[in-house]
Structure formats: C-alpha cells, structure tokens
C-alpha cells in the first residue's frame, strides 16, 4: 500500500464501472435472449438500439408527444419491426449453416444503418435527458446521477424479464422451446411463435437500452456500433446465460472504467475485445454458459 495512492479515485472509478455495467448487462440480455431462443448471435443488436432511439426521438421531440406515449409507441414500433424481420429473414434461414445466419444479421445491420442514415441524416441530435442528472455523493466520491438511474432501470427491466420467464406460462414455454425445440414442439408449444416472441422481446430490450444510451450521450447512427463491445459481456458470461450476462456486465463495466481511468480512452475501446480473446482461449463457454459436447 503505497503512500499517496488515490483511494478515492479508485473507489469512484470502481463504483462508476459497476453501475455502468448495468446497461451493458441490459444490452447483453438482448443478445442472450436471441441466442438462447434461436441459436443466433444477432449482430444487428446495435441497430435495434439505434432504431429504438430514433423512433423515440421522432415521437418525443419531433412530434412533441409526452414521454410515456412516445415510449409506448417506440416499443410497439420496434416490436413490429422485430417480428417482421424474424418472419421475413430469420425464419427462412432456420437450419442453415452458422455463416448464413451470421451474415444475414450483418446484412440486416447494414441495411438498418443505411436506412436510418438516409431518413434522419448523419447528424448528431440532442436527446432530452430522461434520467435525473443530480449526482450522488456517498462519502467523498461523486457519481453522475444518470449512471445510477440507468443501473436502476436496467435492473428493473432484467428483473422483470427474469420473473416473466420464471412464472408466466408463455415465459416457461419460451424456456422449454429454447432448451429443446423438438420436444417442446411435440408437447404442443408453438415454437415458431416463441421464436418470434424472442425477437420481439430482444428488440424491445434493445430499444430501451438504445434510448437510455442516446439520452446519456447523443443520438447519431454511430450508436449502431456500440453494441459490438458488448460481445465481450456475453462471451464472458456464456452465450446462453442471463445470470452470466448480469455478472459479466458488471465485471466488464468495472474493467472498462478502470482502464479508462488509468490508461485512457483509446485503450478502453479495445479492452472488450482483449477480454473476448482471453476468455475464448481459456474458457470458451464463458463463466456460466453451457459446455457443448459434440458427438458424431
């Protein structure tokens, strides 16, 4: 313990990191839902976030609707878009090789990104601040209010989904279809419907995350690229584990915040990818993921 070490700064970085990890976990939830439900990593997750943020901006700022109505409209619109995408793109591709489905989501990302750019333009928009800005000051440290509230919001959304999957009939059906589609089908679960629902839920989760991220920074098509860094979270947590997404979200948030604090922003941007590589080398199925065993 060296003299003069700034413990307050360390605590502050750590607290901010853990709290901003909540948002990472929320985005990761969007990835995990789709992977569990349909076996696909959705590379268009960031574009769902972007879409949600732009819809909300249009409804709330351009049309002047109240926040709750704009939010409801946005969720409905994104849900509709996700359902259409699942029906027109993913369902015809079910059972195709990994690379086909992977490239389909990448193509989707490109088309959505270009579409948003063409309609709304590439400018930065200022989003209204949805979350209170008043900072929290426990002890000597200072934490921006938006980060705390975004953590709370993420926790509520994640908890709601967990409860839904645990107790609701549809949620249980979705879990059954995710763990073994064929058996679920035989038992009378409409697997197509649960898969469509999976995409709708993931789209809505993405939209909420997108609105929150955009309101904390600003709104531009660049938002679409933000989700790629979250791949670190889902790889660390295990692709098919919601609990893993939460724990890994906090860990990655902490690591990112500490590197940003001590090594600078440039290093921070590549930290998620370094984490990905290390985990894939040591423990490819992540902290809580299912270990896949292959047979001939």
């Amino acid at each position: 313990m060296s003299a003069g070490f700034d413990w307050i700064a360390l605590t502050e970085f750590a607290a901010i990191g853990l709290l901003s990890g909540g948002l990472l976990a929320l985005i990761a939830l969007g990835f995990v839902l789709i992977y569990k439900g349909t076996g696909v990593i959705n590379f268009a997750m960031g574009e769902f976030m972007m879409l949600g943020a732009y819809f909300f901006y249009t409804a709330n700022v351009l049309w002047g609707l109240p926040t709750w109505l704009a939010l409801a409209l946005t969720l409905a619109a994104v849900a509709l878009a996700a359902a259409l995408i699942e029906r027109a793109l993913l369902r015809p591709l079910s059972g195709q090789p990994v690379i086909s489905v992977l490239m389909a989501t990448i193509g989707l990302a490109s088309a959505l990104h270009g579409g948003v750019d063409a309609i709304w333009g590439g400018n930065n928009y200022e989003m209204p601040a949805l979350l209170p800005r008043k900072p929290f000051t426990p002890g000597d440290i200072l934490i921006p209010g938006q980060i705390v509230w975004s953590f709370a919001l993420a926790a509520v959304v994640i908890a709601a989904f967990t409860l839904y999957f645990r107790f609701s009939k549809t949620g249980i059906a979705m879990r059954a279809a995710a763990s073994d589609p064929l058996t679920a089908y035989v038992l009378g679960i409409d697997v197509r419907r649960t898969q469509a629902l999976t995409w709708i839920f993931a789209g809505m989760v993405g939209a909420v995350a997108g609105i929150v991220v955009a309101s904390m920074t600003s709104l531009s098509p660049a938002l679409g690229g933000a989700a790629l860094g979250v791949l670190a979270v889902i790889i660390l947590g295990g692709l098919d584990s919601i609990a893993g997404a939460i724990v890994a979200g906090l860990i990655v948030g902490l690591i990112e915040s500490l590197t940003a604090g001590y090594l600078g922003g440039k290093v921070r941007d590549i930290v998620p990818y370094a984490i990905v590589l290390v985990i894939l080398l040591i423990r490819p199925y992540g902290l809580f993921g299912t270990r896949q065993i292959e047979r001939l």
């Binding site: 989707l108 088309a111 990104h113 270009g114 063409a118 490819p284």
Partner: protein, 346 residues
C-alpha cells in the same frame, strides 16, 4: 456446345480444365484481359485493378470460410498486415517481387497465431474471436507509429520492374491482373490436392475428418495461413495501387465486404469468388452512376448516396441468403446448363 467431349484417359479426367470449350474460353478471356487497358479509360482500368485485388482477398477468405468452414471477420486486418509489411520493406528498397511474398508470409504468420484458438472454438465463437482480432490489429495499426505511421498512414513507394516505374493505373493493371490470375489458378489447383480435400472434409464435419486421420490442428492452421497469405498479398497490392494507406481502410466493413462477396458469389468455389468480387465492386459504382443520373433533377440525391449503398449492400446479402443461397455461381450454372446441348434441343 459440349457434345463429343469424352474423358478417355486419367490424365484428361484430372485436367484442371477438362473441356475444349473451357480452354478456348479461358484463352479468349486472357486475350481480352491483356488488351483491355488499351481500349478503356483510366476510370475503368482503375476499377479493374480494384476487382483484381478484391478477387485475391476474397479468394483467401473463400479458402478459409467457404472451403474449410472457418468463419473470419478479421480478413481486412490481415490485409493491413500485408500492406504495412510491403510498405516497410519497399521503403527500404526491396522490389515488389520480394515484398509481395514477404507481405503474404507476414500475414500468414499472424494468421497462424489467430488461428491457434480455432482448434477449441468454431462457428460463432470463432467469428467473435476473429472480430476481436480485427479491432485489436487496427488498434496496433493506429498506435505503432514508427512502423505504420499511425493515423496519418504510410506511404508506399512505386513498384518498379526493370527500371519501369509502375506509377499509374495502366501499369499497375499489368502487375495486379497476372498476380490475381496466378493466385486464383493456384487456389483452384489447391483443392485437387490432399491438403485442399482435407480442408473440405473439415468443413463438412471436422470430427469425422479427424477420425479419418486428418490432423485438425495442422490443417486448420494451414487454412488460416493460406487464407491470410492471400489477404497479405492483396493488401500489399492495395498499398502499391493507392501509394498511401491509413488504418481507416482496413475496418470491419471491409472484412464484411469480403464475406458478402463470397456469399453473393458462391461459397467454396473460385469461380464464385471472381463473380462475387466483380459483382460487389461494380454494384456501388452502378449506384453512384444511378444517383448521379437522378441528381440532375434532384440535387439532394447525392447526399444519401452512401446510406443507399449501405442499404443495397445489406439487402443484397439478405436477398442472396434467402433466395439464392448458392450465390451467383448457381445462376451461372443454370444459364450454362441451358447451353449444354446448344444448338440442339434437350
């Protein structure tokens, strides 16, 4: 057209291009390619050079992804390695016929390192791992100032042959196209050898391939090395072609572009590679022309050119995957089948 073509000997059966029609066609193609720069303007020749470079890089990716089944989202970064290697050696006075293979070898070395985890992970996990490599390598390109010139980029001296400076597109064409032809024929030949057939076995089912006695580690690494070698050579040619390069060129978008090219063209086929590379290079240019045409009446159209290109790019990928998963190659085959017995009726 193919009537009366019987394979009467093993040699004939094993020939790279077994029929006379194919050989005549290739000869004609070679002639057309040789005289093309004399009849075309600078814009078209430049475009042809880009097509050649894209063909080489896409061929490398097709060897890895289409033939061996190892998905890579980091192909552009391997090209970057090749480009910077060539630049570094060219600045120290080495001629292009030394720097090109060196660029390929350096990229292959990095490819082997990246490929090492591929024994444990595959499919989506490998895609994510190569994606991470893509970002890490571009970070290195940006930060390693003394070699890569950082964000300002690097200058590549002109390639020269026997004192002739290859300082314009017409001259570069005669470097790029022969190299591309050589590497594409090499790629086609590769899959008539033990190594190539092992790659295909690994793609179809790697565990079965291992049971059959194919050393997975060696062959997966070989696929990574060969694919990255192609990328490295393509990157080096790109450096010579543009004469200056910045890290911003070797982005994830470029990696995705090559994946799109081989999917649109046809996975696991050299002809598909060429079709895909030509198609994906020409589509943005056609769009540019179309938008310029529309802009005569609606000047604001030029502003949305790049978003439109993105949308069309995405729609092409999705459209081919859903409606024509075997790509342009399958369309080509269908057309050719129509002419098999031509001029007689089937």
């Amino acid at each position: 057209m193919r009537i009366g073509d019987f394979r009467a000997s093993y040699r004939h059966d094993e020939a790279l291009w077994p029929t006379r029609v194919q050989r005549t066609g290739l000869l004609l193609l070679a002639l057309v390619l040789a005289v093309f720069p004399f009849s075309a303007n600078g814009y078209l020749v430049g475009l042809a050079c880009m097509v050649g470079i894209h063909c080489i890089a896409a061929a490398g990716l097709n060897i890895m992804t289409g033939y061996t089944g190892l998905i890579s989202l980091g192909h552009a970064a391997f090209m970057g390695v090749g480009c910077y290697t060539a630049a570094w050696f060219a600045q120290r006075g080495l001629p292009f016929f030394v720097t090109l293979p060196l660029a390929g070898l350096f990229a292959a070395g990095i490819g082997i390192v990246v490929g090492l985890p591929s024994l444990r992970i595959k499919g989506l996990y490998l895609a994510v791992a190569t994606l991470a490599t893509q970002f890490l390598l571009v970070y290195v390109f940006r930060e390693w100032d003394s070699v890569t010139g950082g964000v300002r980029g690097v200058n590549v001296p002109n390639a020269s042959l026997f004192g002739l400076e290859l300082n314009n597109d017409h001259r570069m064409y005669y470097l790029i196209v022969p190299v591309a032809a050589l590497m594409l024929v090499g790629g086609r030949n590769l899959f008539r050898t033990r190594v190539g057939r092992a790659f295909i076995a690994i793609r179809d089912k790697d565990i079965s391939a291992e049971v059959l006695g194919i050393e997975l580690l060696h062959y997966k690494l070989a696929a990574f090395a060969i694919g990255s070698f192609y990328a490295g050579v393509a990157g080096a040619l790109l450096g010579y072609f543009y004469r200056a390069m910045t890290p911003e060129y070797f982005t994830l978008q470029l990696s995705v572009f090559y994946l799109a090219a081989i999917i649109v063209g046809g996975l696991g086929s050299m002809l598909g590679t060429i079709l895909g590379a030509v198609f994906m290079t020409l589509v943005p240019e056609l769009l540019r022309g179309g938008v310029a045409f529309v802009a005569q009446w609606a000047p604001s159209a030029t502003e949305i050119l790049s978003p439109i290109q993105q949308v069309v790019f995405g729609l092409l990928i999705m459209g081919f995957l859903v409606f024509e998963p075997h790509g342009l190659l399958e369309i080509w085959r269908r057309v050719r089948r129509m002419f098999h017995l031509w001029p007689f009726r089937a």
